[in-house]
Subunit: 80 residues, 2 copies
């Protein structure tokens, strides 16, 4: 069993209204000195088998097909 | 300027219908051997200043107050 973490983040230049809202809310709560906030998604996936290279390729395919919108998002795959 | 990444994940035992739906969708797409999928959130935050300990404390306070629901979620703060 291989445990992997996929992090999907918006590409630079893509507007992130959710992040902006969080920035505003943090300001309202009294946190100062916040430069910027960008929100993304994280997926913790368990893949059967022990072949790390195969798992990495499969996880990248999952990102391309389902988990990330590669027009506006980047993804990274970390295998524990 | 300190760049930090906050990862918020559901605690073990908390149901994750979104993750379950992704698991099902991956199966439908032909990916086999997926053990489980759990979805979480990631926040990339820029904090002004250079004091890493202060930033870490402030980021933990942000998680407790706004970014995470500590009843059902865990968070981790990584400073780049």
């Amino acid at each position: 069993m291989i445990k992997a973490r996929i992090v999907v983040t918006l590409k630079n230049g893509v507007l992130d209204p959710q992040g902006k809202a969080i920035e505003g809310a943090l300001g309202t709560l009294g946190f100062s000195g916040i430069g910027s906030v960008r929100q993304g998604k994280v997926f913790d996936v368990e893949v059967e088998g022990e072949d790390r290279d195969k798992a990495r390729a499969e996880l990248a395919a999952m990102c391309d097909k389902l988990l990330a919108n590669t027009v506006i998002e980047n993804y990274s795959v970390e295998i524990a």
